[in-house]
Every structure is written in structure tokens, then in C-alpha cells.
Symmetry: C2
Amino acid sequence: MNPDRAGDAVAQRAVRREELLDAADRVICRDGPAASMAQIAAEAGITKPILYRHFGDKGGLYVALTERYTGRLLVELRTALDSGQDRRDRVERTVRAYLGSIDADREVYRFLTRSDEGLPAHSHVLSFRRRLAGLLADGIAVELGVPASRASAWAHGIVGMVESAGDWWLESRTLTREELVTELSDLLFGAYAGAGSPSGTGPGPSLPLG
Amino acid sequence: MNPDRAGDAVAQRAVRREELLDAADRVICRDGPAASMAQIAAEAGITKPILYRHFGDKGGLYVALTERYTGRLLVELRTALDSGQDRRDRVERTVRAYLGSIDADREVYRFLTRSDEGLPAHSHVLSFRRRLAGLLADGIAVELGVPASRASAWAHGIVGMVESAGDWWLESRTLTREELVTELSDLLFGAYAGAGSPSGTGPGPSLPLG
DNA sequence: CCAAGGGGTTACCGCGGGTAACAGCGTCGC
DNA sequence: GCGACGCTGTTACCCGCGGTAACCCCTTGG
């Protein structure tokens, strides 16, 4: 076609790749995370072997998609983590950002959390969790001056806490997003320790459970 | 063979079912959670259609396995939740029990946590999480006198926190189990709130600042 | 002796991941 | 100009796995 210069070949390829990922994105947003390669190819207006030439196998495509999604999410969370005036504020902003993201597109969320074991993409999701937890752990270690082992354990715990609560929230919807942000932040900030806690209702009788 | 009486037929069937589940258990423990029906059948010394006669489809088999596994785990966690002298003690016992269980058989753990979306077993795993979180939420609501919405949010968060930290722990092994129990309990009991105020009950494990 | 029925098998279908082989087409070297 | 190359695209296929239909054989009971 155009007298494109030499180096453009690789750029062209990259562009195509993004287009294919766009197609996969559309299919997954429309039909859920169990999309087949043929479906994705059809959505892109081509056939399977092309997908395989670009991504190797289904795992490769899913890894690429996972990178795209987690990249966006990580940026949002990072900025939230870096903003705010004090620790409490930062925590609330970050939790809010996470809940907002997973709420914005549930199919993508399902794609990320329920991706098949076996597919390499899954290990990539894990690595995203690790990166996120690593960010958190660094922040905690610096901010609180606790040893790395403690910071890591806490970071992974916190990530799972928000993830699991978010999962439940998406399905039950018994709280507003802002309420959940408050609940989780309270939990993190020691509301569970003492019975009488901030922002909540209530006295604090700590009766032992039988 | 033996002149077994009439009602034994159904009992016999139940026994057989358990044997088949045993076989599936063995395969999954040996080869991981991606076992095929033919593999499981071979392990049981039979062929596929028999499995299908007993469990309907792969989902049915996996649901049965999931029930078996989660049943055991739920019993352990329930007793841990009901034991102990104070809240801190109960939390530690429960976290310890959970970590011990997932450590005892990692393939089973992977089977439970990474079971395929799509397969009905996955929703069964989710319902296990919900049951567990429900138990926790009840305990929290009673013990702390907080409203149900707060108790539920916290419960799901706590379940996810322990699960995620446990996941990380299984792979990294940078802590002993007992250390992780302490870290998570500290986190729950407000150690994150103030840098220098660790746990709830008594002196507790002081921050080994390092 | 002959049905009934349940445990067991083989042989097959459909579908999805993955691949080989081939077809058009623009570019490069001679 | 012309063949060699490389890239995009295709069709048609293989294989493994979930799931099933049809059949086999042995026991039970009238």
C-alpha cells in the first residue's frame, strides 16, 4: 500500500495486535470470559490461525489481555496510593478506586479473577496480585517502619480482603460503594479490635461467643 | 454375591459413590485439579459412562468432591471458631486451623480455589465462602454488637484476607505458619492503625521492629 | 426358561484448541 | 522483467475431552 518505511512493519504488527486485543475485549465484555478463539477471530473479522500467529496460543492472548487490564488497574491504584493527605485518606481512596474499577466492568473483572488455572494467564493474574501487594508492602514498610515480612503478609492480606469483600459486594449489593469503603477502612484501622468503633453505630459490648 | 437384603442396593450405591470420589481424590492429589473424566475413571478401574451414571456430569462429580472437601474444612474451622478463651485466641486458632488445612494438601486447595468457572462446582466453592463468611458474620455481630451490614462486609473481608495471605504463604514460605498467624491476627486487631499499638488482648506480641 | 435390570464396555458425536499446507500479493535482488 | 522471499490470509484437518447411545453379561425372581 503506502510506501511505508522499513521499521513500520513491526509497528504495524503492534497496531494489529492491539486491534485483535480490542476484538477479544469486545467478545469478553459481551459474552463473558469463556470466549473461544474462533469467536474472537470472527469478531476481529479474521480466522483462527492469525490469532495464533500473533499470540502463540490462547494462553498468550489471555496474558496480553490480562496485561492490558491489570496495567490500567495498576495505574489507577498507584495514583490513588500516592494521593491523599494521610494514611486513612489514602486507604479510602485506594479502596474506592478498586471498587470503582471492578464495578465499571464486571465481565473484565470476572475474566481477571476467574481465569482458568492451566492457562498461563492465571499465573499472570497472580503476578499482578503480587505486584500490587508489593507496592502496598513497600508503602506499609516505609510508612509504619515494620519489618518486610510483616509488611508483605499484611499487604497480601489487605489485597485479599478488599478483593473478597468487593466480590461479595458485586453480587449482593447490600451496601453502597461508599459504605463499603468505610467499612473496610474501619476494619483496617482497628475497628475490629475495640468494640466501640468510629463511624459505626453502637456500643461495644464484647460478649464472648459460646 | 452375598444374599444382601433389599435396601442395601441404595447403600451399595452410596458406598460405590464414595469409592469413586476416593479415586477422583487420588487423581487430583497426584496430577492436580485439571483431571479428566477418563483419568478418574481409569484410577477407579472403570470407564467413563459409570462416572456419568453416578454424577450426571463432570460438574456433578466436582460438586460432590467440593462438598466433601469443604465439609471437612468447615468442621475444623467451626470448632476453631467455637473454642478459645477470648477473641484474640479464637482468631488465632481459626487462622491456624485454616492455614494448617491448606498446607496439608495443596492440590486439594488448588482444586477448591482454582476450580473452573463454568463448572457448577465453582458456584459451590463460592457458596462455601459465603457460608464461612456467614458464620463469621454472625459471630462478629453477636460479639461486637455491630449491625449486620458491617458484620457481613467485615466477614467477607476477613475471609479473603486469610485466604489471600495463605495463598501467598504457600508459595513464598518466607514465614512460619505461626508467624503468619500472628501477623494476620495483629492486622485484624488493629496493628495497622497505629504503628506502635499491636494487639487487643493484653500485652500481646510487641512489634519486633527491625 | 425367560424376562428384568443393573454393572460394565465399546464406539461414537460435537466442540474447542492448535496446526499444516496452500493461496494472494507487495518487495527485493539480479 | 522475473523469480525468491516474506507477510497476510485461508481451508481443512488432527487431537483430546466432555458426554452419550447402544450393547453385553450376570444375577435375580417368577
